[in-house]
């Protein structure tokens, strides 16, 4: 989708401000926002791509005016409501008003430690041979789905070169929407800075994205 999260190439946000001796979290609630989202992920009620889609679906003014972990909080709340984990009355009350009859066993410390150690690999067996090879010239499709996609706007319609075949990976576009993994080949595609940003851009710049096969066409 063309939401506020897709920021590559936007102007007007000002300078980058590195913070000396930055702490991992800036407030106690940020720790909880992080941990709650990670832990509930282990329960498997929704997947990572669905969470990302929900976050980038926030109205642009809200997205841009909310801090990073604030976005995690608002999105968690939305997902709990959407998936029937909580009612709006419960969120207003700050307490459960009824037990969750369908609750799986609770996520424990041992379960999250396993999740951190094992992660969640996204590579899958390939259903078909890769269509492109290293060195191929490809065009990122000019597509504007209203659903989740990981093809940033700034590369759409532009021509680049396949520099690496990453593997066959879960396709976020379908996984976010209906949980279908529908694995596709994933490529590193490199673009010349001038192709993306015009003749005045820095000629020494190359920008690459990871692009699934459905994002690409021969050029």
């Amino acid at each position: 989708m063309n939401g506020a999260a897709d920021m590559g190439g936007m102007h007007g946000f000002g300078p980058v401000e590195p913070e000396p001796n930055e702490p991992v979290f800036h407030a106690a609630w940020e720790k909880k926002a992080f941990a709650l989202n990670m832990a509930i992920g282990v329960a498997g009620i929704w997947n990572l791509d669905a969470f990302r889609f929900a976050r980038e679906s926030l109205p642009p003014p809200q997205y841009l005016n909310t801090s990073y972990y604030g976005l995690w909080v608002v999105t968690l709340e939305n997902m709990m409501l959407k998936h029937g984990v909580a009612t709006s009355e419960e969120i207003a009350a700050g307490h459960a008003l009824a037990p969750d009859a369908a609750a799986p066993r609770p996520v424990t410390a041992a379960m999250v430690a396993d999740m951190v150690r094992c992660g969640s690999p996204y590579d899958r067996p390939a259903p078909a041979p890769a269509k492109f090879k290293v060195g191929d010239t490809v065009r990122a499709r000019n597509m504007h789905p209203k659903t989740h996609t990981r093809l940033p706007r700034y590369v759409r319609g532009h021509v680049g070169e396949v520099v690496r075949i990453v593997g066959c990976h879960v396709f976020p576009d379908s996984n976010a929407t209906d949980g279908r993994e529908d694995p596709h080949w994933l490529y590193t595609v490199r673009f010349d800075g001038r192709e993306l940003w015009g003749a005045d851009s820095d000629p020494t710049v190359r920008v690459s994205v990871e692009a699934w096969e459905p994002y690409l066409e021969p050029a």
Binding site: V16, V85, L196
Partner: protein
């Protein structure tokens, strides 16, 4: 342990209190419904505050500087190489190491949000997740680097890697001159987090007082 909010988040003065209340409500509901045990939250916070951070990545870099076999493996199969040092898992299942050279400088961003190699660098700094970095790193990386105090030769190729999939990147910075004969541990001590994102370069003078 409430800490002052970051200067980047100006304009959200009341957000702190509001968010603290909202998080508490969600936490209470999830625990009361039997979905999450409180100890799971403590485990996650402690893991990323104390156990998984940029010292992991610094060990990978130092090993790559002193051990040619490890270096070869790291660039051939980054996931396996960091696995041999005990790193991997969450946000580290698919890792690509990027080699900085005198002619090529690599720099990592996630324009869409905040993808970052947690397994070797921990959680990303605020600036990495901020709109200025996400919007500009892909369009004017030299200007962004200057804001980090990094000035590269004008002919150096800058490769910006936008983390749009579950592949994560670790930049392997160039080993500074004047460090011949240093132990792996001493070398790891001069590897900064920013140098492994590609927004910093290393000099020997960064070594902390010994």
């Amino acid at each position: 342990m409430q800490q002052p909010h970051a200067p980047h988040d100006h304009g959200h003065g009341s957000e702190l209190d509001e968010m603290a209340l909202r998080v508490r409500a969600l936490e209470t509901i999830l625990i009361e419904k039997g979905l999450i045990e409180p100890a799971a939250l403590d485990e996650l916070i402690e893991t990323y505050e104390t156990r998984i951070g940029p010292r992991n990545g610094a060990r990978v870099v130092a090993r790559a500087w002193v051990d040619p076999d490890f270096r070869r493996q790291l660039f051939a199969d980054g996931t396996a190489a960091i696995g041999a040092l005990g790193y991997g898992g969450r946000s580290g299942n698919h890792l690509l190491a990027l080699e900085n050279t005198p002619s090529v400088h690599n720099m990592v961003v996630c324009t869409l949000c905040s993808c970052y190699p947690w397994a070797v660098l921990g959680l990303p700094p605020l600036w990495y997740k901020s709109a200025p970095y996400r919007s500009r790193a892909v369009a004017e990386p030299r200007a962004v680097l200057r804001e980090f105090g990094v000035e590269l030769p004008s002919e150096t190729e800058i490769r910006v890697w936008d983390s749009t999939a579950e592949l994560r990147y670790l930049v392997i910075p160039m080993r500074p001159a004047g460090t011949d004969g240093w132990s792996e541990e001493r070398l790891a001590g001069i590897v900064t987090r920013d140098s492994m994102i590609g927004t910093g370069v290393l000099t020997r003078s960064r070594e902390p007082a010994r």
